[in-house]
């Protein structure tokens, strides 16, 4: 594998790091000027799921449901850490009900009614803990992935399941067209097909895609034609959803020049921790990937990198979102970014921290793709920090944007914080005041 290493640019890299990461207290573009702290959890909060107007946070043993920060229902029942959570909307009696499915390390699956807080369904004594959940709205079934893949209907009846796979088990799933499912299992992506014959559903593995060289951490849906996967050593592969061929292959190497063999080994060792793709998110055109403590923005259609920042946080980035580019990290902060055109496009400041390989229709990983060295990437933009949200005292696990209503973050410090646009909230309150005045006829 050929690495495109930019020598002698390191100094600038560090300058860039220190200069850009210190934003200071003056943040005119940061609109989050109001916060509300939600207390309710007694352990690390790992997941947030939007259920209608509610957001649900998750922790070790219980799930809390908050409604606009006020009312709180505690869904208590699991005896061990919750491993996956998903909202599930189904039609019953003409009305859409939104429920919450949770999976836990105690080898149970539960269906909760978030309005009443009741545990509606419960399945225990699973053979293995479930690691991920996927709802297929079209088929009105849902899938659980652990050591095996199980298909359930809305009444919590097991429809079918695959044979035992491996110890690693399924860590992530995405839905593909024509009733196909892509599941990440360790270094492989397995394509399953759901065969519907009448009321019976049969699931079978169709293809094993073994192009990743390390564990796949992230698997996302990009658009109807593409999905993406990211691995522990920084491999980002864009796949075609229909014929499962590689559309693009990026190996993101946050490399630094090696001085000698000894130190290179050492550095490599560090880098392997650093460049793991923890999380990706996409809006159908762009992908943002959390790579180590850096961020990487990739244009899927152009098959080119848009912007990147090797050190975006002081520690590993855990979650990202693209609509309003934000990332959260183990360092306890949420940072907001803006894509800005580089002032001097002729001199892409440090375009060399990645290797780029475009391969098309590649089926075997043995045949090394022809290395294409791109000294200058046209249209490369820079990621500028426009604001950060500091509040949590532990790693920010995840955040969830509720558009103008605000942003909810959850953290290992057991807290949830709703960040709101102060100006907007103030206007809302004014409206509420006048509404109340009108009701009381005091106007």
């Amino acid at each position: 594998m050929l690495r495109w290493i930019l020598g002698g640019r390191e100094a600038q890299g560090t300058v860039e790091k220190s200069a850009a990461l210190f934003i200071g207290e003056e943040q005119p573009k940061n609109c989050f000027t109001e916060m509300q702290v939600l207390k309710g959890h007694f352990d690390i909060v790992r997941f947030l799921v939007q259920v209608d107007d509610l957001s649900a946070g998750d922790q070790h043993l219980s799930v809390c449901v908050f409604q606009t920060g006020d009312s709180l229902i505690e869904l208590r029942g699991h005896t061990q850490q919750i491993t996956a959570m998903i909202s599930y909307t189904f039609i019953r009696g003409g009305n859409a009900h939104t429920a919450l499915i949770t999976a836990s390390s105690d080898r149970t699956l539960s269906l909760w009614d978030p309005d009443s807080g009741n545990r509606v369904q419960n399945i225990s004594d699973l053979q293995s803990p479930v690691k991920c959940l996927l709802v297929l709205v079209r088929l009105d079934v849902w899938l659980s992935g652990g050591n095996e893949l199980c298909v359930w209907n809305r009444d919590f009846e097991l429809q079918c399941k695959t044979v035992h796979h491996s110890d690693a088990g399924i860590s992530a799933m995405v839905e593909l067209p024509k009733n196909f499912i892509a599941a990440a299992m360790d270094k492989e992506i397995v394509i399953f097909k759901l065969n519907l014959s009448g009321s019976d559903i049969v699931v079978m593995a169709m293809r094993h895609l073994a192009d990743h060289q390390d564990t796949i951490h992230s698997l996302i849906h990009i658009n109807d034609g593409l999905f993406a996967s990211g691995s522990h050593i920084g491999e980002l592969i864009i796949w075609d959803s229909v014929d499962w061929t590689i559309q693009a292959y990026e190996h993101i190497l946050w490399e630094e020049p090696a001085r000698d063999g000894q130190s290179e080994f050492k550095l490599n060792h560090q880098k392997q921790i650093e460049r793991s793709i923890q999380h990706m998110s996409s809006d159908g055109e762009y992908i943002v990937a959390a790579v180590g403590s850096g961020l990487y923005v990739y244009n899927v259609l152009m098959k080119s990198v848009v912007a990147y920042r090797r050190i975006a946080h002081d520690s590993n980035v855990l979650h990202t979102v693209l609509q309003r580019l934000m990332s959260c990290s183990e360092d306890g902060s949420v940072r907001m970014w803006e894509l800005q055109d580089l002032p001097l496009p002729a001199e892409p400041a440090s375009s060399g921290f990645f290797g780029m390989f475009g391969t098309f229709g590649r089926s075997s990983k043995q045949t090394g793709p022809p290395a294409k060295k791109i000294p200058e990437v046209p249209g490369l933009r820079s990621l500028e920090l426009i604001g950060d949200l500091i509040g949590h005292s532990g790693a920010v696990q995840m955040f969830l944007s509720f558009k103008e209503k605000g942003l909810v973050t959850c953290s290992t410090d057991h807290l949830l914080i709703i960040w709101k646009d102060g100006e907007f909230q103030s206007q809302l309150r004014s409206l509420a005041v006048f509404q109340k005045l009108e009701e009381n006829q005091e106007l």
Partner: protein, 857 residues
Amino acid sequence: MIGSPDVVALTKEDDFGDSFTDPCSLPEEFSVPLFAHAANANPWTKTSYAKFSKDFILVSEFSEQVGPQPLLTIPNDPKVCGTFDLNYFSLRIMSVDYQASFVGHPPGSNYPKLNFVADSKVVLGDSKEGAFAYVHHLTLYDLEARGFVRPFCLAYISADERKIMHQFQELSSEFSKASEFLKSGNRKAFANELEKKLKDLEYTRSVLHKETELQKMNNGCYSTQAIEKANELANVEKSIYEHKDLLRQITSYPSRKKDVDFVQHEMEKPADTSVIDDTLNSNHSDVADKTVETESESRKSSYTPQLIKAKSAKCFDKRLKTMEELCDASFFHQTLEQLNIIEKSFRGDLCLIYTSQIDRALLSKQSVTSFLFEAERDWEYGGTSTNFSISSNNPTVPILNISGEPLSLDSYTTCIDVDHIKPGVESMEGPPESSTSDITQETSEAADTETKGSFSSDKSIEAFGGVSPSSLQANYFDGLERKSKVSIASPSENTSCSVAVPQMTSDGNLVPMDAACCIGQDGFIFEEPLPELAQECCGDTVVNQEPLSLLQGDPALQVDYTLEESALAESPNMGLTFSELNTEEVAKINIEDVSDSTSFMSASTSSDQAVSPFTYGSALTLKQKKKAGHSALRFIRQYPFAQQAIFCLLSGRTLVILGVDEGTVRKLVNALFIFVPNLGKYGETVQPWLSSPFQLTDLQRWKLIGLQRAASPAGSSILHSLNRYSRYISILDCDNKTLRCPPYKGTLVSHLADHRTQIKRGSTYFLHVQGMLTQLTAKAFLYTFCHHIHLPMDINDQGSVTSRRTNFLLQLGYTVEESKIVHYLSELIKQHYIQGSSKGGNQSFCFNYTTSYLYKI
């Protein structure tokens, strides 16, 4: 803080009075009645004419054995009444009422009848004694008393006639409450008494019956003894009948006309009232024997009936019941409590009472914004605020003039005028320039020593305030400080009072000083006392020195007093300051008297305790806030960045005061807490001393935090949290004397906290602050409820709303920073209005992204 007239009336030397030009004059009903001869008389000295030092409440009885006699006074302190002849005055007031309460056999009725007469309320004046009184007559029932009634009266005695007249309605309603307590308790006790008596009578009857039977058996029906016994029996029967009738009457009393307070009282003491209700509601007359027995079994099982004579004993043979016995003990104490409340709330000058009543009445209409900076004072005054209606007319008051002299206000005041040395008009308005610097120096000196001295010492320094500023040399100061600590051990409230008294009265020692002061000051017109009045003065020396002689009982105070005297002697320009003292000190007494007398914190205990008003569970009082005004004044003089710190508090940015020494930190917190908007009744938004790292949620809760700086691991984690949340907080480091906060440029806060301010008194400064904050609140109110700036023209019109808001605030004359203050207050008002007064547990917390700077001294 509504009462800006208050400020004008009480401050005489600050710049506020000068700059205060009221653009729209107050409506008539809010204006405070002016002192009739304000031009040439000192309005504060009126009390000195009377033979008592301050207003008090007298409870007296017209005893059927000894005639009118005083029972108790509130406050129960012989000092208060001085040489005032209570016996004489009791006679006066008790000889008034008697239209009422005839109990006995009314014509045409065979049985005694209880009259439930309404209390009578009159105003009495005795200009010879210099005493005026609101007198509230009531009768209590006593089985053993003549006609079953004992007349009592409650009197509020004051030297200020206008006070009685103006406050007649309020006095009447408050005393009615007290009287109602007494009478309810009395009805209960009377019913019990009757039941006991009935039991006795029943028992007697049965015994007599047996004896009669025995007599009949032995001696035949018509023997003399038998007839005697039969007569006796008939008497007892009649007596039983009468008593049953009385019991029926007392229990059927239409006691259910509940006023609000009574209901509250009942709620407080459910156990008690259930008993009363039982007693009062069950109709004894139907099956009296049974009900009495069954019902009273539980309560009076211990009572064994006695054989009694049908005729009651002669009136002079028996001991009359005390008032406490006449009423139920708990009711009696309730009454005393109420009387104490009355005494407290009507203490001080009329002008002040009136202003505060207007203040309260207006405040009650301002629930939308009053939570921001107003102390919640409802608990202090009970129902007065609701009853009070603003009226400039005097209520029609029945006046009785005992002394027969013409009792016009004019004659009364003129009498005082000649008696007292007239201070000039100028003395009311502004201090002579020369003395200001001295005072300032004094205050700063006090501020400097604050670190080593305890708060209590500061307090007493304030008490001696204007006495000897120029002579407060270091050694002197120490002396004072040492002494003051001793003096504080005496009831703290009286220190300032009693020290001030001899200065007011023109007693022998001080007359020269007085004269000096009058000559020394331009504005003073010194009038030689008229010969006969001078004579009277001499004759009155005993009276005038009365407080002094009482002082002598307290060695500590005596020491202070002499110390002070020598200070006076040494000081060359003493006259100036002393003249100031004359008006200023008394004004201060009045202010302080209004709030409360029961020393709200034991000043003699540990200094830390005394410094902080934040004792958990107790509401912040106005008095504490006024004291805080003093600390605040020192703070703004001492720290050049005080404006920035105050700006932080007003704009809702949490201010952390970091320091090693708890006392210092608490002192600073104490100085700043009056600037915290929405302080809460108990000061919930202030944390005076925190020794653990604070959390994010704490920032939401507290707006002013005193934080311990420690070298321990805990201390480092505190510093870490400070660092982490530095963008949300401002840090005042009181060890290094630095402040890290966003910059502030503007005139608003500099008016509020001008380190060159001429204001010297903490309470005056507090009023100044309150005035400014009220202004600010009014602007915030305007900003909040001007709907044309907040409502979007159409759905996607957010941007224009924002710009309209900004423009509105700019038009109000606020800079960008000051807009933040108004904006923050407005947000608080909105939240408060939407959520109601209950503070929702989970409120959002607003902040700004602005750069902080480090300010140093």
